[in-house]
């Protein structure tokens, strides 16, 4: 049987969703039989490959690198899943938005509230540039499936992936659609 070419990424997030992914414990072994993990923070591949079947996108779109990557993901992936509340709603990552545009946020964090060497960090080509607004993934690219939770519990992730790798569209019960 064909293996599903799967990727996972984290954009502006805390990696908690990936931790929860690892919490699927022994089922990961079963999953490993069904997929090729072609790109992920958990494996050492530098370039997002072509022809990916499914990608779990953790985190919101917060900087230019996120934006670039998420557009590339959409272009190269059949099924994009917003993975966790940051990807679906912006969540904690987007809590900076009410403070204003990127420069205002940087000023607040690195100048106004700083008591040691206040300076706005700037390393062109190394540090990605903040976008003025953090946006959920579906505000930037079309998204095929939404997986809620901060983080989504391991069982919920499995409830989505298990039918998917068997070619069945996952129908989560309403109670598993809970944010937070």
């Amino acid at each position: 049987m064909d293996r599903v070419k799967m990727a996972t990424v984290w954009l502006g997030g805390c990696s908690g969703c990936h931790m929860s992914f690892l919490d699927m414990d022994e089922w990961l072994v079963d999953l490993a039989q069904r997929i090729d993990l072609v790109y992920s923070p958990l494996v050492d591949v530098k370039e997002y490959p072509e022809d990916v079947d499914v990608c779990l996108v953790e985190g919101a779109v917060a900087n230019d690198e996120n934006l670039h990557l998420v557009r590339r993901i959409r272009a190269r992936t059949r099924l994009v899943i917003s993975f966790g509340d940051c990807a679906v709603t912006g969540n904690v990552t987007a809590m900076r938005n009410p403070l204003g545009v990127a420069l205002e946020v940087l000023k607040t964090s690195y100048l106004d509230k700083s008591n040691l060497h206040p300076a706005i960090p700037s390393e062109p080509e190394i540090l990605p540039v903040l976008l003025d607004q953090v946006r959920p993934v579906h505000a930037v690219i079309p998204v095929d499936y939404y997986l809620q939770g901060c983080p989504p519990p391991a069982d919920r992730i499995r409830a989505v992936l298990e039918p998917l790798v068997n070619g069945v569209w996952p129908e989560l019960p309403l109670a598993e659609r809970r944010f937070g």
């Binding site: 049987m1 064909d2 599903v4 079947d53 499914v54 959409r74 099924l79 079309p142 095929d144 070619g167």
Partner: protein, 547 residues
């Protein structure tokens, strides 16, 4: 006071008038272009010319052709001058002695004036709104006296019903039917409210009526109060109309002093007191339940109906709320009869309607026209067409109304026809748009208005108008796709069907009507759709599913 005495007063007033009267508009529009100085200069010129014994200068209300203000008209020959400068006063007075004037002459025979039918505005621009005697001289308060002496409340209601008058605030509910509903209520305490919270952008009919002929509205309220059994009335007028408020205050004082308002009016058992309540600038307070809340001293937010104010209104008492123009129609209907009124207009829309003609049209100002007249006649003949090109659309009904395309200009003006076109009669704002007008901008303008004026009580209106405005802004900025227009339409449907009051329910109208008639303007601003539409859940694009 008896009718004979009232007529005697009127005759006396007429006898005291000087043979030549120079009328100078002192309504808000002309005042803002310095008509007060014009009036003073005219008065001085009359004195200087030694004509004071047979010429008087009269401050009057609106003479309608607002774009030519300040307006001056000389009786009895009727010569009218526009854009009058105080420096031209002497020469205008000089014409009375055979002189010439360089003042701009207005043709009073042009369609703008000729095709008007004056009922509501019949005294407007003819009498001094700050003197009750002037109102008496044109038969004022005789209708009230007649009603009190000769008619039962039921007969009054029945007359209004037969006249076919419908509410001029926009919704067009039959006035007589509304009065009858309240008259039937057994409550001892009832109220009459005049809704003068005119708030549509571009509408100034009610302001003009109040500034030009306030007693006529008060008389209408008193007749309504007698018909339904109320002893207290309120005029709810917006604070942005200081001159209207000032003239209402004067009118009320004079009417009380003369005994035509207050206790035992015309020595009858009928008591009726009117107080003014001033709105603090919220558009939504023109909605009747919000207006009631505001008069009660609460936050002006609408509440769901039923119960309707006719059953439970101000302080839970049955309450009649009529618009300024509706009430201004009452006295003439009593005086001249329901049949006369019903003979004007169409089968379902009787009488006249006052429109505030504005926008890209030559003649702007007030027009009072019989119902059933075509839009084309109003904007092209009376309005003189568009100065900068051809007319593209006519907007009626303000933020609750819609844009009627030029192709539908032959539609007769009546409640049903305008609704069928996706607009509404509304309170009377009529904004003409020419080829240069961008219709998506128009929709965005009105949506911004509704967003700012939403009271914030119900979710669809408060949050939905914000989202619709954002989408329209994105479309205007060229950042939107067809999916955004689809979302805009879905929001229109939501806000229209689920909002609590008329503000929200009608807020999508400008968008829906521009989408209906000018969709290509929306499409021209759209970005091409994004390349990869998300797969449907019927078909999973995975190798395992393919096999």
């Amino acid at each position: 006071m008896e009718l004979a005495e009232l007529k005697e007063l009127a005759d006396k007033e007429k006898a005291e008038q000087k043979p030549i009267r120079i009328r100078c508009c002192t309504a808000a529009g002309c005042l803002s272009s310095n008509s007060q100085a014009v009036q003073q200069a005219l008065t001085d010129a009359v004195t200087t010319a030694g004509l004071a014994d047979r010429v008087e200068v009269l401050p009057v209300g609106c003479m309608r052709l607002c774009c030519e203000g300040p307006l001056v008209q000389v009786d009895p020959d009727g010569a009218m001058y526009g854009k009058v400068d105080p420096g031209q006063a002497a020469s205008i007075v000089g014409t009375l002695q055979g002189g010439q004037t360089e003042a701009r002459v207005i043709d009073t025979n042009m369609p703008f004036f000729r095709d008007q039918v004056s009922i509501v505005l019949e005294n407007s621009g003819r009498i001094n709104p700050e003197r009750i005697e002037d109102y008496l001289s044109v038969g004022g308060y005789q209708a009230l006296l007649h009603v009190l002496r000769e008619m039962t409340p039921n007969q009054v209601v029945e007359t209004m019903t037969r006249s076919g008058l419908r509410g001029r605030g926009g919704a067009g509910y039959p006035t007589g039917v509304k009065w009858g509903l309240i008259a039937k209520q057994p409550a001892t305490q009832k109220f009459v409210i005049c809704n003068a919270d005119e708030g549509d952008p571009g509408a100034f009919m009610d302001r003009s009526v109040l500034e030009s002929d306030p007693h006529r509205v008060l008389e209408g309220m008193a007749i309504a109060a007698y018909a339904i059994g109320a002893s207290q009335g309120f005029v709810y007028v917006r604070g942005e109309y200081p001159l209207a408020i000032h003239r209402l205050e004067i009118a009320l004082r004079q009417a009380r002093k003369m005994g035509v308002l207050g206790t035992q009016i015309f020595e009858s058992p009928f008591n009726f007191r009117i107080d003014i309540r001033i709105g603090a600038g919220a558009f939504v307070c023109g909605e009747e339940t919000a207006l009631i809340g505001s008069i009660e001293g609460k936050r002006g937010t609408p509440r769901p109906r039923p119960p309707y104010p006719t059953e439970s209104g101000l302080w839970q008492a049955p309450t009649l709320i009529n618009n300024v123009e509706t009430l201004a129609n009452v006295a003439p209907i009593i005086t001249r009869g329901a049949e006369w009124y019903a003979s004007i207009g169409t089968a379902k829309s009787k009488g006249t309607k006052v429109f505030a003609l504005a926008g890209k049209v030559r003649n702007t100002g007030l027009v009072e026209v019989p119902m059933g007249i075509t839009l084309r006649k109003i904007v092209e003949e009376m309005g003189g067409g568009s100065p900068g090109g051809s007319i593209k659309a006519v907007q009626t009904g303000g933020p609750s109304g819609g844009c009627i395309p030029a192709s539908a200009l032959d539609t007769p003006v009546d409640y049903e026809s305008l609704t069928a076109l996706g607009s509404i009669m509304g309170s009377g704002g009529m904004i003409v748009m020419d080829d240069a007008t961008k219709m998506v901008d128009v929709a965005k303008f009105f949506m911004e208005f509704c967003m700012d004026e939403s009271c914030g009580k119900c979710v669809p209106c408060r949050a939905g108008t914000v989202q619709m405005y954002r989408l329209l802004a994105r479309i205007v900025e060229g950042e939107a796709t067809a999916a955004d227009v689809a979302q805009l339409e879905a929001l229109c449907d939501l806000v229209r069907n689920t909002s609590l009051c008329g503000l929200g329910q009608s807020a999508p109208n400008p968008v829906l009507s521009t989408l209906r008639y000018f969709r290509e303007e929306y499409n021209a601003l759209l970005q091409p759709a994004p390349p990869a539409p998300p797969p449907s859940n019927q078909r999973i694009p995975l190798p395992v599913a393919r096999g």
